[in-house]
Assembly symmetry: C2
Homo-oligomer: 691 residues x 2
């Protein structure tokens, strides 16, 4: 904690000439920061060392070039004086300048940088958004149950997804089974390759994901002041390359740095591949092996023929699926970010591999997004804002269809409540791509866990269709009409009757026999002939946007979490009305029975418009009851008072409505056909009357 008192004491110890200039500037900075945070002047910003570290980390992630320009000289000065300190032991200079940097950071950092995850988690648990599954049985890591609030939020997000993608883009939605026979997932490559490297404590058998173990152990060394600097540098390099490591690389690291089992200090086994699919079997015999699907995509691929037919044989078309995915994570942490059972929304857009243009691309081409390309990552540069049109033109994003879906994904995420400043697309590096992907851009959202992949946008090329086609000996192709008939040279094998006649005499004329013979080249006579063809068969490429709904939901909850200014214990969720679990609260001003018929009428009005509501007729003050509704993100409230008996009908700080208007107005506000400013212009403002 840094306060003015400490600073004063330090400055008192500094030589007189420096004092004047530093002290003045420093106090100015303190005052400016405090003012920005709406606090009383006399109290300096209260930050623990940990929360300061978090804030710095946040700015390293998120700073705009302008912010960075302001911080850079201070950072340099801190480094310089740091060296000086070590040389001259002149610690007060370092202290003061480090504090300048800190204060500048606080004044430049947005509110969310001081986000308090524990407070959010407390709210989510207390108001039952979600919580660990089976906790009365001790709980299961990586499994979560959604309570009424989380369930409604999720349902609303999915409803919006269906509107935004399936309805607006005319997609073919399917609903396939989670149980998937083994041969299907063998063809898709999941049986052989959908695995994580795992190490075990050789004594207790406890299992760890090898890359997570290395990451944690390396970070521990790096943050250890006493550790060797050369080793730290090496381990920093390990962390940067970790995503691309195979088992041998990891074993080398574990052996070289002597990493141990974190809880016991025991030795570890070499990394072994652990398949992440949950196994089961279908039917009573026990010999029909199956898995729970790790993604919904395969259900779409195995239905490709039916879907193409449904679309009357035409390309391109998109199929979509909303459903469960299952991944048997080795040791899941991080709440909703890494779970074993989750809802996915996936789109498979089938397109001509030689023409990945998109008919609606023009509609989004000027839409700007933050992109972090593979090149930028290799060069150590940060994400840049660029229009999707320009990104495709410059070849940063490979094609229009991929770019179109990135833009539409971005729009959806912002619509349901992701903060666009904390949203970027990061291109996969070659060594981190899934086995089926040709190119991939992840929509990453910045949360307190760092940048989290929430939507993958992959070009799976024709990998899956070809694999299933091979495994089942089924044609999975579309017919493409050629712009003009193409003349092809078809070589047909005909019987060389001269040779045949010689060798087989009379028998040679029997057709069936001939057919067999013709398989032998010896009896063939190749005749080349020219044909005109109007169509060609192609295996479509697939562009796949794949949404992890739980992750997006968690990001929304973090981004909409607020603490009341001046009363930081009072927390609330500023959810977008579109996704808010409950749209409207109904708060009678008193428990007087005279209000009951009006409350009943309001309920009916809201139900008629399919609006979820919550009547809070408990004893608390209106203010306290509003706070309770804020906590679960209810965006609108209707107050019923005694004025309401005489028809018009108001909410305390805001507007007055006729009873019969309430449902329509709230519905229009929720569905964004009207905003609050419009409502205020249209309806009279409520003013408390003194009777």
């Amino acid at each position: 904690m840094i306060n003015t008192y400490v600073v004063r004491r330090v400055i008192a110890a500094v030589g007189a000439t420096q004092k004047a200039s530093y002290a003045q500037e420093f106090f100015k900075a303190v005052t400016a920061v405090n003012k920005g945070r709406g606090e009383k002047k006399s109290v300096a910003p209260r930050f623990t060392k940990k929360s300061h570290a978090k804030l710095s980390e946040y700015l390293r992630n998120m700073a705009t070039p302008e912010i960075e320009a302001q911080l850079a000289p201070l950072r340099t000065a801190v480094k310089e004086y740091g060296d000086l300190v070590r040389a001259l032991k002149a610690s007060f200079f370092l202290f003061i300048i480090a504090n300048f940097l800190f204060l500048r950071e606080v004044s430049l950092a947005p509110k969310e940088a001081s986000f308090d995850r524990l407070k959010l988690e407390d709210l989510l648990k207390r108001r039952f958004f979600y919580d660990q599954s089976f906790s009365i049985y001790g709980g299961v890591t990586g499994l979560y149950d959604f309570g009424p609030m989380g369930c409604a939020l999720k349902a609303n997000m999915i409803h919006e997804w269906r509107k935004h993608f399936v309805l607006e883009e005319g997609m073919l939605e399917v609903d396939c089974t989670s149980l998937t026979p083994e041969p299907v997932l063998r063809a898709s490559g999941h049986v052989d390759r959908f695995a994580d490297w795992m190490v075990k404590d050789i004594k207790t058998g406890e299992c760890f994901r090898a890359d997570h173990l290395i990451k944690n152990a390396a970070e521990k060394v790096i943050s250890d002041k006493k550790a060797d600097e050369t080793m730290k540098t090496e381990l920093r390099d390990v962390l940067a390359r970790l995503e691309g490591f195979d088992d041998k690389d990891m074993l080398e690291v574990i052996t070289k740095y002597n990493f141990k089992s974190p809880n016991t200090g025991n030795d570890l086994t070499p990394p072994i591949a652990f398949n992440l699919m949950f196994p089961s079997q279908i039917g009573p015999t026990g010999d029909f092996k199956a898995f729970l699907r790790p993604e919904t995509a395969q259900g779409i691929f195995v239905n490709f023929k039916r879907l193409l037919e449904f679309n009357q044989g035409r390309l391109p078309f998109a199929a979509a699926q909303i459903g469960l995915g299952f991944r048997n994570e080795i040791s899941p942490r991080q709440g909703l970010i890494r779970v074993r059972e989750f809802t996915m929304c996936e789109i498979e857009h089938f397109v001509d591999p030689n023409n990945k243009s998109h008919p609606k691309f023009k509609k989004v081409s000027s839409y700007a997004m933050m992109l972090l390309s593979a090149c930028n990552q290799m060069d150590g540069q940060s994400a840049q804002s660029i229009s999707v049109g320009e990104a495709v033109e410059k070849g940063i994003v490979a094609n229009e269809t991929l770019g179109y879906y990135m833009a539409r994904t971005h729009m959806y995420l912002v619509k349901v409540g992701v903060d666009p400043r904390r949203l970027r697309f990061r291109q996969h590096l070659n060594n981190e791509m899934a086995h089926y992907a040709q190119d991939c851009w992840d929509a990453e959202i910045l949360t307190s866990y760092g940048w989290i992949e929430c939507v993958g946008n992959a070009d799976r090329s024709c990998y899956d269709l070809k694999q299933h086609s091979r495994a089942t000996n089924t044609k999975l192709v579309a017919e493409k009409k050629l712009s003009e008939p193409r003349t092809v040279d078809i070589v047909e094998a005909l019987a060389n009757m001269t040779i045949l006649g010689k060798e087989f005499k009379k028998d040679a004329k029997k057709v069936n026999f001939l057919r067999t013979l013709l398989k032998t080249v010896k009896y063939q006579e190749n005749i080349s002939e020219l044909f005109k063809v109007h169509v060609e068969e192609i295996t479509p490429s697939v562009i796949e946007p794949s949404f992890g709904i739980g992750r997006v939901m968690y990001a929304i909850l973090e981004h909409s979490f607020r603490q009341r200014e001046g009363d930081e214990q009072r927390t609330f969720l500023a959810l977008r009305p579109l996704v808010a679990p409950i749209k409207c609260s109904v708060l009678p001003i008193s428990a007087n029975e005279r209000l009951n018929p009006i409350i009943e009428a309001v309920r009916e009005e809201l139900s008629k418009h399919d609006l979820s509501y919550r009547v809070d007729d408990s004893a608390g003050s209106i203010g306290r009851r509003y706070a309770r509704t804020d906590e679960i993100g209810i965006p609108f409230g209707v107050t019923v008072d005694f004025e309401s008996e005489k028809q018009p009908f108001g909410s305390p700080s805001e507007c007055i409505f006729q009873l019969t208007e309430v449902g329509g107005v709230v519905s229009a506000l929720v569905n964004e056909r009207m905003d609050w400013t419009m409502a205020q212009q249209k309806y009279p403002k409520f003013e408390a009357k003194s009777d």
Copy 2:
């Protein structure tokens, strides 16, 4: 096939006096039937023997007392003349009278009795409502994928369910995991008791569900003309009691009647219990056993404490869950009726076991339903129409809450398209009740597979909460406020210091030691004291309506399936607009490009109101294109013609709308805020103009 030619020939062989009267009446009957079926007069009704049998069967199930009264004398006559035939070989009398009965049946049977399942299945497959999963891999029995039409139908049914139950009744919806640890399902009784009896072919190992095998084998014997009549009678009795059979009963039947493996004729093993849950394991060690949940209910029970708290500790309240259930059926048949992975919608209504009244019961008490009580079944009576109020009053339905949910279930089913004439509630007999149920009424829907259980309405009493409470040593109770404080006699155990002092002297004063000692009765001195208590702890009873969405969907599809009069090859679905997968077709009258901007404007109008639509600009005639939209149950169509260019905008047989009205009107029609009669009164009728 019976046609007038055959009848003429038979009558020609009959004596002259009988000829006149029979012939006249018979031809009258033929003509009447044909007229009713809209066929040309000269052709007699075409029915195969099989479809006639089906029709008779249907009437036996469904006939009203009035219909039955008309058929009874003919049935008696057929029986009488049957006996006569056997006695006198006077086959022509029997033939003619049997034909009278048949014709009367045809004229009295509703259209659905001649339902053709193959035709429906063809439509559902062709237009991809649903189809077998993984069929390019050979398919898996009991697993189905929903295509775009089935998926949208299902989504609409669920959306309506959520409105009808969760929203209107203010239920707490949750969303729990499918993966369920073994101890949870052991406590619920599923590990030990959720099993079917299975027999195996001793040579091939092929597995059969024992009751299904007995049923099929018995039915085969019964329909075998040569089989022994005593045996038939015995087997009819077996069929009637089969639901309550255990393994010994079944072994006895299999042995006694020498039933064999149906495909090979090999011997069968004795029945063994096969647990219907899909096993898996969680995490990498392999020792955390889990199952896929067989019902969503358990997720609600293990969250009871959180839900009660969410409801501020108050009873009654209802929780709901929409999600997957999994049952590893031994050998599933019957399409969507018996599947291994399915969507359930379940409600658990927690209520005071001593007061199962429902606050909204009055709203439904006059609602009438067909009830088939356990008593009625024992007495061989059929279902009777009765108001739910009367049913509860007479004790036929045990309590108001159960009755309320039966009525609300009935309303939902009718709303989404179940034919109310083919819907009844059947009470479970004691021996068929699930292990957790105290009373159960199944909503059964009549389909071509017979009466199918689609919704179970069970009173699970406090079974599940008590089981989980015991297994976890957790209190799963609610506090009930007593109407007036109750005085209870609380016996408190205090140390009898005299005895203690004597035996332990100085040590007796050490408090911790005393606590241990007090567990021994010998050292206790019981002091009875009177306390006033204001609350008591109760374990709530649970009323559970549980919907199998796939079964309801199949019933809806059967009930809405139609064949065009006079063109029986032209089939279509008369789905309720509320659940129809696509709400509106857009049919341009020609491919002329001038119509494109209008089509685009219509699309936007429909999208704005979240209405799914399908533009069919293919080459076919308007009539043919309408037929195509009928087939997938699109309830409304908008025709775009050249008149539309001049603003008003029409559909050929019907009304004219302004372009800007289209979305609003279709939306009002779909959501039943307006019906077609109202629309016709409000908007001018379209009349084709001759230019």
